[in-house]
Symmetry: C2
Subunit: 406 residues, 2 copies
Amino acid sequence: MKSLREIKGGVCAPLGFRAGGIHCGIRKNKDKKDFALILSDVPCAAAGVFTSNLVKGAPVVVAARNLQNGKAQAIICNSGNANTCNKDGIAVAEKMCGLAADIAGIPADDVIVASTGVIGVPLDIAPMEGAIGDLYASLGDNSDAAAEAIMTTDTVPKSVAVEFEVGGKVCRMGAIAKGVGMICPNMATTLIFITTDVKISSAMLKKALSEDVKKSFNMVSIDGDQSTNDTCCILANGLAGNDCIEADGADFTALKRALGYCTVKLSRMIAKDGEGATKLIECNVSGARSVKMARGVARAVIKSSLVKAAMFGADANWGRVLCAIGYSGEAVDPDKIDVSFRSAAGDLPVCKGGSGVPFDEDYAKSVLSCDEVQININLNLGRNKASAWGCDLTYDYVKINGDYRT
Amino acid sequence: MKSLREIKGGVCAPLGFRAGGIHCGIRKNKDKKDFALILSDVPCAAAGVFTSNLVKGAPVVVAARNLQNGKAQAIICNSGNANTCNKDGIAVAEKMCGLAADIAGIPADDVIVASTGVIGVPLDIAPMEGAIGDLYASLGDNSDAAAEAIMTTDTVPKSVAVEFEVGGKVCRMGAIAKGVGMICPNMATTLIFITTDVKISSAMLKKALSEDVKKSFNMVSIDGDQSTNDTCCILANGLAGNDCIEADGADFTALKRALGYCTVKLSRMIAKDGEGATKLIECNVSGARSVKMARGVARAVIKSSLVKAAMFGADANWGRVLCAIGYSGEAVDPDKIDVSFRSAAGDLPVCKGGSGVPFDEDYAKSVLSCDEVQININLNLGRNKASAWGCDLTYDYVKINGDYRT
């Protein structure tokens, strides 16, 4: 990680990016921003990954189409309404692209669109038409305003930026995200918008993003449900002046490192801010025969409702961890599995070779009562590793998601 | 369903079966039975299906081995300790078989053994050795005592029995079950013990059971976690005097009907008594291109934490249903999906052709506030159907599963 350091500025940290976020009226609460725009001064290489849910939000369909040529220049996003399961959804998503394109003087197919919020309720374009002028006028070093405008039940805005070197040139990358939060009456949606001033081909940018999400956002689970609107996209405007990255090599590795730093940091923020969560759970699997095995085990453990509820109760219930490993679908050897819990309060081995080891309950409680807890699993079958992030299952999760929409 | 009717007696309803359940001392609470025995007067054709979790309880390993020859005569079971993830687990499970075999004068490999409760804590055979005499002496028409002795956090014992005809002979079938309940500090386990006096070959009995569980117990989900100890077994002692069922045909169909009646009834009981549950959720999928598709969709919906939390809140949040259908992995057409909710209070169409239809929120609340709610989905792609059962996700689920073991 030599020469990589965190900086301020979010998506505006890279050269040539401006952002803004305002209240346009989709939400009733005037204090809640609901309309965001991110704009590059120049056209960008661009890539995106989207939900694999067959029920897709209209913005996902339009954004994926606009990214097919590997370029874009702006991202427009609203919260408060997901524009999903509506008959006129595609037309409205296209109109949103048109609003950004007209005011910025760029082609409509260079705009990425995203929406998050209630589904099955038609999204009225009128508030956005009325507010696009104000939103455009607000553009500047306002990454935080954009981060706020895309929030739903997130309790904190999520942002990161780094400075790093590519071929001797100082480059920057920034990102904002919204996590898995319900908005009445809706489903969880993850949105991630990444900007960078690195010069890179569309093909290599797509490769970097596709590889990265397997290790970052695809390893986050709040409740196991997959949204209709999940979107992660990246714009690279090339203003850092590095030699264009067009193949594997040291420059590409430097970019991937920066990307991985940003996405894992956001993944942890998203997990920690899961609905009703009181703690971040990180599951680290080592000793797997393959990366696929490591990821499969880590995801099964992090998704288990029983493990999540035990973490809420600070209960060192390693049997539930073993149970989840056992149904992960991966060909583990139960008699070789070691499990320990770890936090700032210390390390707690609980299972060795598939059988329990004695531990002190008071100490266990202190380890599991921290606000970040690791579940460390060694499968003792090989040398591959993976990590996954999630949160505990709490009364508040049920409260948030059980409340009436009305 | 001609000629099939419910009767009393549970597993003792069929001719030639006795049962008992007592407190032997595995549990500290002397008022809680923890040791059960079911015995047939004569050897039985027998079959079982077990958890597919790679982390298997020792009793599962021993029971599966003893069932390999397709015969058995007794079932011995304890609650309070799952005898799982212990180094001496197999030896203890074999000793349990030996206790039943010695006192009943039958071969040890004709005994099916099961355990449910805490895992990773060695199971002491001593309390069972001391109590086997009392348990044997208690055998009689005591299905309810056995049903109580296998309970963990179940709030009610679960039992059913039916009378039906096979080839003109009156036959009986009975069953007891324990549902998905946590016992400190443990995982959910489903145990189902079925008895019948039908005469049938081992091969056909195994076929009937294997086909049936796909439509019954495999379609129940409380929290998506799969236990290490799940066991469903059936003993058929042939005392009804029908011509032995050795092939497909009307007699086999009659048996399967009786079996399906018992298993679906128990499935609904298990779902309704899910931890912390306030209501039974039944998801009925129709119009699927295949049975696999129908089952896949029904299971995805019934397992969704977001759907379950919405049901707790009596929130007609059909978007979450569509979302779960979309990530089920089945090739549905989102634009063809119809969804309605239904209960004793009425029918509530909420989605037609993938888009929302208007409904009255007060009426919706009354429909969803009943203690049994159907989620009815028509995929409009074919003629196949499936049903799945689950429960809502409540504060009490979190409380039960988050509490300290200590």
